[in-house]
């Protein structure tokens, strides 16, 4: 059986876990909660999983480390700077063999204090192979094109920024340019600021091309990190608890929400169910269940954690069953086990049952520009993140980051229409659904948003 390193991606969170192995043994790095997949891959390679490495206590994703260890008997290894309630603490230099492959622990604090990286060596390549790292799992320390965020410990920002600088320069770069980099996140993750959409790189390529590593010196790096603005959705605290204690329920299969009739769906909604519409912004615009959250499926993981609670059931509005399965998987990976049902037959079932539905009008940027130029009275609510404002705002825009919107709703003027705006319209529609839920409005969504402004050359102002 040949050597293998196989990434297992969790879209939405842009999380990447890995399984690697040789000679009948396999190791898993940062397993996700629905962890059967690692056992399947291991079996297909004739291997048993003997070790699990958690590069750090994840905040954004519910780890499957504890569950996978229970299921397989593998040892779950953590950094020693945090008292995990399960598994085993490892430290700098600990080594583990998987056939000809050897995994070696590097302590690389910064993103968190207990963060580790795991370097791989191939002993089948002789003495040189034994001392030349062929790959390294960098967790949330070093990403492709970025480094991990260091804002999780208020008051210790300088210390964590210093740590990650030293971890990279004293531990990772010394592995050598030839080392392939396997980070825990790809483009779109909230665990970094501007990850590359390329998923293959090496220490040498990052050393030369990663923009954060090009800052002139250590102090500049620290200042840069301390100036970054990151957000922390409320569900993070649940992840931190689950991942420290290994206490997330381990369901044998993903939850399977039941198909329910429009009538039942309506009754559950009246009883407090959170209605989550994962269809496209256009479909939500055309018609939706009043009071529902709109999270287009590809936006779900990134934003639902700011708004959804763990204690009330969740009912989905979907176009087709496969979307429900994908949504349930994403939510399960964020600790939400409370998706109990979906509207059987989709929105047409709701419509044909005679229930009231709501629309959300769209507005083109040409019309926005016209209104701005005409000085019309309306709120242009730009829900992009702070880092995006820097590239310009439409004149008169009110910038409120989407994650902050729910608690800032009261700051919006109530005497005029609100047009939601973002990079493309996919986050704006989430914002619009929040406004509709709060009965603020009339509300519109600018499909196209800033991307259309750029394409059309609209005039922008500085933030």
């Amino acid at each position: 059986m040949s050597m293998f390193i196989i990434p297992v991606r969790s879209p939405g969170l842009a999380h990447i876990s890995y399984i690697f192995g040789h000679g009948g043994k396999a190791g898993v790095v940062d397993p996700r909660r629905d962890c059967q997949i690692y056992q399947d891959i291991a079996r297909a390679h004739g291997a048993v999983i003997t070790h699990i490495f958690e590069t750090h206590r994840n905040e954004d994703i519910c780890s499957g480390g504890a569950a996978l260890a229970r299921r397989t008997g593998a040892v779950c290894c953590h950094g020693r700077q945090l008292p995990f309630a399960f598994g085993q603490a490892v430290q700098e230099g600990d080594r583990f063999r998987f056939g000809s492959l050897e995994a070696k622990v590097l302590e690389t604090p910064g993103h968190t204090f207990e963060s580790i990286s795991v370097a791989l060596y191939d002993h089948s390549a002789g003495a040189a192979g034994a001392s030349t790292a062929v790959a390294v799992f960098t967790g949330d320390c070093l990403f492709i094109g970025d480094v991990g965020r260091t804002d999780f410990f208020p008051g210790q920002e300088r210390e964590t920024a210093t740590n990650i600088y030293e971890s990279i320069h004293n531990k990772l770069l010394p592995l050598g340019d030839q080392t392939i980099v396997y980070p825990a996140h790809g483009a779109g993750s909230v665990c970094g600021a501007s990850l590359s959409e390329r998923e293959f790189s090496t220490i040498g390529h990052e050393r030369r091309c990663n923009t954060v590593l090009q800052l002139p010196d250590k102090e500049a790096f620290i200042q840069f990190k301390m100036a970054e603005i990151h957000h922390k959705p409320q569900y993070f605290s649940k992840m931190e608890e689950y991942n420290l204690l290994g206490s997330a329920p381990d369901l044998p299969t993903l939850p399977q929400p039941a198909p329910v009739s429009a009538k039942t769906f309506m009754d559950k909604k009246s009883a407090g169910m959170q209605v989550v519409d994962i269809r496209s912004p256009e479909a939500f615009g055309g018609a939706h269940v009043p009071g529902s959250y709109c999270f287009p499926l590809d936006m779900l993981s990134a934003y639902c954690g700011y708004f959804l609670t763990f204690d009330k059931e969740i009912g989905l509005v979907i176009d087709e069953l496969a979307q429900a399965d994908e949504a349930v998987a994403q939510l399960y990976r964020m600790g939400y086990d409370n998706v109990t049902c979906f509207l059987s037959g989709g929105l047409p079932a709701w419509e044909t049952a005679g229930f009231t539905y709501e629309s959300l009008p769209s507005v083109h940027v040409d019309e926005l520009v016209r209104r701005i130029d005409a000085n019309e009275d309306f709120t242009l609510l730009d829900v992009r993140a702070e880092g995006e404002w820097a590239n310009g705002l439409l004149p008169g825009a009110t910038p409120i980051y989407l994650g902050d919107l729910e608690r800032k709703l009261t700051t919006l003027p109530t005497d005029r229409p609100v047009t939601c705006f973002c990079g493309s319209g996919r986050r704006a529609v989430i914002a619009a659904s929040l406004l509709l839920r709060a009965h603020i409005g009339p509300v519109e969504n600018c499909l196209g948003s800033m991307a259309a402004c750029m394409a059309l050359g609209c005039r922008l102002e500085n933030a």
Copy 2:
């Protein structure tokens, strides 16, 4: 290897073909155009296809009989009352063996003059088995819950209705109650009027429960058939030609439309490309490419044949790639080989490129009723079929069958808004897209339509 009868369904057209076999030989009944699937099934059963039976020259679906015969060397058998340009004519009583199974030809004219049915006998069940039909492929002669339409030969309606009556009573019913019925269409087909949504039945069950067979006598049956109203989309004539000559191009795989940018899509549209939006009515309502046809995917086969031409390319607007594949398959089965591209990135790519998009407002039946009661000025365009009007119309509705709408557009008043209406809103949205293309309007779509009226108990009038 055991005996097998496996239905192969073509959704949209509600067409059902079959492959059956035993002892290393297989027969295919009414193969669809993308015919690799029959070879795959045959191989999986260790069989080679030796005979193909076309129960009649199909009008609504492009047959794969000629192609499958060429690919496999099998004989393609037709009824002898039509001079097919390929294959072999068979007649009453012709028999073909497939291991222990024997297929016997019955001439069952009515739907068309050359229509045949094929009865199956199992010789492994001894002498009784040799004389007791176990199943019969009834083509478009006898459906579950209905019989085939007999309106294809203008001026000969009495003759065809008489024929189908006699075929059923003199050929099919005599096979015996025990005979399982495998028709060429299921619920939703345009080849009958009111097929059951049950797909399993027997001669005996149809004899007792099929409503058309309960008519008091032959003359009542004939009158009933002659009074039926059916429609004939323009693409039928292409099917008739292809299926008579066996001349439909036989592509090795389904056409694979290329992903193209919003800019290219726009340019092609300007150059005459037919834009077909197969997303949901809600999504089309939210935003769509101006000038596009809206055919929700499950409506595509039933209605696109009235409107789309074979000579201009077709570009799709989709939510995800699998929809394009399904649409391409459906269109290929209707003879459309001209799907050349789809809008890469979907409608968001169009929006973010800054191109203009259009919306289609929805209106709830409560609002319709209010307007009707208030005597407001608007056209309530009901595009359901004649048979549905009988169950009632909303007061003041203008009934025009969807298939006729394009050529009756000029009959609509142009000085008032038009609200499209059907059974649920899925056909109404097609009508709305036609109106938008013709710049008639303003246009609305009543999501929910008659189903919502029924659920809410709205007052109806007779047609």
Copy 3:
């Protein structure tokens, strides 16, 4: 959503379960133990499972009724003549609705005393539909081409034979010829004697063609049934217990045996592990692990239950992983949860590790005939069933049914070679593996066996 009846087959046991439904509700008939599949099918049809029907307490297969009821909240319905520890007793005439479909219970004792059948009616076909059965689930009462065995209650054979006769004639045939028959077993099952390899039939076709139903009168039927010889593998008693109590462990997924090295496999074997080789007879003949049972995969379910115990672990020898999965599924359905591992790398791993392997020579029937004609000294062990002997034996053959072989081993002469023989060589190889385990021999296997004799026209004798 349309009506559906979907068979779910368990190869090996030739067991057929069914899920049917309409209008968002589904019923399951005779679910197998690995029952996730029914939930998957139900969801794909937008339905929830509300009722489970167990036509009888199965003996040959571990039912999933109790597990599926626990998982779904559905009611598990049984005949009232046996005190099941779970679910609900039903009786003649009980009716259950699934949309337009109605299931009606028929008490049809014979195979067992509590056996029921379930007839289906389609109310969408009007009043006639409400009184005309469209299908019937016949359990082990009526098969296609056969009827259920009636030998399970020693001393009550006449009563059970009488019962099944009356159930068929008074309950099933009166449903009418038009009723489609869905039995619980297909060809190859040990629950009947000579089931047809056809899986589609009707009451009418069975009435006319089922050979058992052609016997001249009731008494002839009873005599026929009482004269039948059936066998009862030892694992049946475990099934009876599990199925009465609903006590079979409900694993979330099928057991996943671990890949183990040749060394570990050897050690486990030495410690008592049952080695089960599921490769082909030819591969077993070429080389195998000494002391292993040979059960070619398609023979596994039919014969392993005579020999394998529940209390010692089972290790598999396979060619590829998919075979292990299939074997594990088959064994799980027979109550064997003790498949813990498979030989990683297959037999080549054993060979290259230097361990001793064994061969099993093959002998062609030409050579057998030569030996018989030459009056050579050898035991020709024919392990077919009694019913097959009737068609003739090779001269001098010693007939011992395979299921009885282990306890009759001591009756074999030990001073001469033994050639195992059956219908084709696939059961003979099982017998050969038993002889090799018992160190009786030398042993040969006649690949081709009686089938080759028939093809070559060998002279046979009467049993």
Copy 4:
């Protein structure tokens, strides 16, 4: 859409092709003949294939470059040192853009004179990214753990060895340690001598760990390469022709051999059909069709090209259909379009039809050692390659490389039994089938072979 580099592997030949892309455009490197897969991957990534790079005229695999270019309209790029009959010549420094990725041509002769490599740069990583290679497709120039063979041009061995040295040192290593290496072959390929079973590496890791690159100087490298012994199966010449001219037939789908009865299979065999048994060595040992070639499926591509001809049809003996599909794919990639059928029902169908079958006895190394020690008369035919003999032979072994065996058959003594021997028994069984076909024997196969000798510590001699 994110960047992607996706390997497409052809097992057996251990060939690796690649498709990469970004921004709606994709490039393919060294496509295999069954090339639909690249179009499927491109579509799934919303990309169209614009360029194909053939790193060299392949000898061991039939390229799909010409076919894929015809199907997609992409340009097929070759090195300019060979006059390809299609596509376009490229030269050092030519650059092609795929979104942010840029592919740059490097001329890297050695394996062949026109060999090129293709380096990738990511412009989204800024100016540094534009000048820092992130990956390089090395074709058959640089492998992981080895370099390409340089023996294809008799009389020019020094020149080609010098070329490849210079290509590696002057072109590839200067790309920098950080460059990920994507070669055209993995472990098991006949295009190198000792490729690593690791498939991920970088220029830096190879620079330090690739044993061939550790040779002390250029002259040592050249001497090493010139001393290597490689073999050239006869089918290579067909590949060279096909790949130079782009003339390999482009079938729309893989050939689909028909299931045929034992009788038909026998007749075809008598008429000259090449019977290829792809079952396991153990199954072939147990029973096989007389006169068949044995190529265990995982050995098929590596060895059948020495023996099978293109002009006579090929019939397969398989255990299950999926094996036939895999075999047909492998053979198609080697230019064999002549697989017309397989024995339906497998060897059991042959056996039960009464046809004669043959066995191949196995012998354990313990027995071999006993015979050697006892000085018994037998030929121990060791068919491993020259490079393997160096590690030792069993005393008295006759080494003949398997690829040479057919033409050296006459050198074998005919008065004694022959035991075939190799590394594990999987090549020995091929040799045994050749001997059986030639009626040399009696023949045995040593399952376990040298691996078992090593495990058991048998005494070896030097070659």
